[in-house]
């Protein structure tokens, strides 16, 4: 370990390797998800939103909490699901509508959930998962379990009433929750400065925290260590009963918002990022690609002697193998019996 490492970061080496692995596995998974539109056309139905480019947020945030804490997310939920430890094969089987999927093929890509890992049902309506996660934090507070909640959402969600209502109550009641705002600069296809008053005024989105008298910070969402440190502090604060924190992670997704929205029988496909396809600004996209969180983190880890090239290669290969095995598993898995549509309606 170099002197630089000792000064700079909080996570242990073991934790950083775990973070790196998570990031590589998310990337490999979502690269496959995009390819699968060509390689296995028709298998993914509806709308799918990859997490590539935003891996550092998932890895940094999840590394800073306990395994029994709760995690809630949005329709862009592949990252937190893999990060939380759900095997890729159960995720892919869900994306392909198979009976073996994590939600028995009833939810698909936008509605992943694994309550055995305290991964809350992903909420596919913008911002509407924020009150759910806030309510889970209320339960943690009332039951005095010592658990906290990480609530992930995008920049678009911060324009919804659900965001304002929930953060107000969370601050008022000092609920044990950390709000992770993934600002990837686009609400679906709309650039953030076209819809956000703070951005238009040249301010960070984290200033919204002021409205709720809670701490708000902005960090580099392409740097897992920066995210880790912010979430670590916020989690500590939440656990101590001091209430919520809003953490804006400025990032960039490397994929388009989602696959093309087309009506059957036209096949869907995965388009290029909106910077290129909508705003004719490929340069922006190229600039952000240079900040690839995985490349940067790998270089950092090698530089401080926490990781070797060989180890990195082995992590990559293992992730690729996991994808291959997931594909095999999902292909071999049966579809649900049609009548299962009438199960799980009532408890």
């Amino acid at each position: 370990m170099s002197q630089e490492y000792e000064k700079l970061v909080y996570p242990t080496r073991e934790k950083m390797i775990w973070m790196y692995e998570i990031m590589v596995r998310i990337r490999e998974f979502d690269e496959f998800v995009k390819r699968s539109f060509e390689e296995y056309p028709g298998m993914i139905r509806g709308h799918t939103h990859p997490s590539d480019g935003e891996e550092a947020i998932v890895a940094g945030a999840l590394a800073a909490i306990n395994p029994d804490d709760y995690v809630g997310g949005t329709y862009r939920c592949h990252g937190i699901t893999i990060g939380r430890g759900v095997p890729m094969k159960l995720v892919l089987a869900e994306l392909w509508g198979k009976k073996t999927g994590i939600c028995k093929g009833k939810g698909g890509s936008m509605h992943l959930c694994d309550m055995s890992r305290n991964l809350l049902p992903a909420c596919a309506i913008v911002a509407q998962g924020i009150p759910h996660a806030t309510g889970v934090a209320l339960a943690c507070q009332i039951k005095r379990t010592g658990q906290i909640v990480l609530c992930f959402f995008g920049d678009g969600a911060t324009k919804q009433g659900a965001f304002f209502e929930s953060l107000n109550i969370a601050s008022l009641w000092k609920l044990p929750i950390v709000y992770i705002l993934e600002n990837n600069l686009y609400q679906a296809y709309t650039r953030v400065e076209l819809e956000d008053a703070n951005t238009a005024a040249g301010e960070n989105l984290s200033v919204k925290a002021r409205a709720f008298s809670m701490p708000g910070v902005t960090v580099d969402g392409m740097d897992p260590i920066a995210v880790y440190r912010a979430v670590y502090d916020a989690a500590k604060r939440a656990r101590e009963g001091k209430g919520p924190t809003l953490i804006e992670c400025v990032c960039y997704r490397f994929s388009a918002h989602g696959n093309a929205i087309v009506a059957p029988p036209m096949p869907t496909w995965f388009p290029k990022h909106e910077a290129i396809e909508v705003y004719a600004n490929p340069r922006e996209y190229e600039e952000w690609r240079k900040k690839d969180p995985i490349t940067r983190f790998k270089a950092f880890l090698i530089n401080i002697g926490a990781l070797t090239e060989d180890q990195a290669k082995s992590i990559e290969e293992s992730a690729k193998r996991e994808v291959e095995e997931a594909v095999k598993f999902a292909l071999e898995s049966p579809f649900p019996a049609p009548e299962e549509a009438l199960e799980d309606i009532y408890a």
Binding site: C103, L120, G135, S166, Y346, A347
Partner: protein
């Protein structure tokens, strides 16, 4: 010894009993438990009894989250009109959670709200929006019409593992009725025959149960015998009791305070048309609020809402056939 208490007292008794029985039951809403004198606050404390801001989306959405994490929230939402700002949570989230996760979660929440305040509240506070809640498979819909039913059903609602819309008609919350001292619950999906009769089946909901009973009393003097059925829970609906009654009488009238078009009365009528058509001696009739908005001025408001005279006139229209 049965006691006479008001409808609202019965609701509160049932709720308090459940909070005493089960420490995971929490209760929150707007403009409640504001001072330490509040009986719920005194008995159960600030952790389980909370005032919320005017934030229906958060109130409802947080109840869903708290339920997933092991609590049983009862959310007081005051009026069905007020939850229209939070329909995603009520229709697209709460009832779908269990299904979309492949059965991984339970959402035991009670959404408690009044409806249909007919006392000059005009267009935005007098509606009966339960036709919307009737659409959300995965949730249940309860409308008690008496203090006895109100108490028994809120206890069942709180113990149910699914989202339950527990709706109270504003116009009868001061109505008194007998409630036993000993504990009891009322199962969902069991209609109550409030009055037995042979000539016409009248299915009435909420406040309208009382208007149907008053109409039946007047008709009895003219020799017309009315059977009044209160479904008590619209989801699940006790089809059997309604079908059996129609089999006996051959005639069905459905009385509801909600507007006719798109209402739950259409569902009940369709159910009988599908499953009990051969029993019918006359067309199914519905006595509902007129298809307009609820007006402020008293004569306008009265004209819109079903009443005894309208029920009697409709009965006479079909008993001739």
């Amino acid at each position: 010894m049965p006691r006479k208490i008001t409808y609202i007292e019965a609701v509160n008794e049932g709720l308090a009993e459940e909070m005493r029985r089960d420490p995971t039951v929490i209760y929150y809403g707007q403009n409640m438990a504001m001072t330490e004198k509040d009986p719920f606050l005194k008995e159960f404390g600030r952790s389980r009894v909370r005032i919320t801001p005017v934030s229906e989306t958060a109130q409802i959405g947080m109840a869903i989250g708290a339920a997933i994490a092991g609590l049983r929230p009862v959310v007081d939402l005051w009026m069905t009109d007020f939850v229209l700002v939070a329909m995603d949570q009520l229709l697209n989230e709460a009832p779908r959670m269990r299904f979309v996760t492949g059965g991984q979660v339970k959402v035991p929440v009670v959404f408690k709200m009044g409806y249909g305040f007919v006392a000059g509240w005009s267009v935005t506070h007098s509606n009966c929006w339960y036709n919307l809640f009737n659409l959300a498979q995965g949730s249940k819909l309860v409308i008690p019409s008496t203090p006895y039913d109100a108490k028994g059903l809120i206890k069942t609602a709180i113990r149910d593992d699914n989202p339950v819309f527990y709706l109270t008609p504003w116009n009868i919350i001061m109505l008194t009725g007998e409630v036993p001292d000993e504990e009891y619950t009322i199962p969902f999906g069991v209609a109550d025959i409030k009055r037995e009769g042979d000539d016409v089946t009248v299915v009435a909901i909420g406040w309208m149960v009382h208007r149907a009973l008053a109409a039946a009393e007047r008709l009895a003097k003219e020799g017309i015998s009315i059977e009044v059925i209160d479904p008590r829970t619209l989801v699940p609906l006790d089809k059997k009791t309604i079908l059996n009654s129609v089999k006996k009488t051959g005639r069905l009238i459905i009385v509801d305070q909600a507007q006719k078009t798109g209402s739950v009365t259409g569902e009940i009528a369709a159910m009988i048309a599908e499953e009990g058509f051969d029993y019918l001696k006359a067309p199914i009739k519905r006595v509902c609020a007129l298809d307009t908005s609820i007006a402020y001025s008293k004569p306008l408001e009265e004209y819109i809402i079903p009443n005894e005279d309208k029920i009697i006139a409709t009965v006479k229209e079909i008993v001739k056939k």
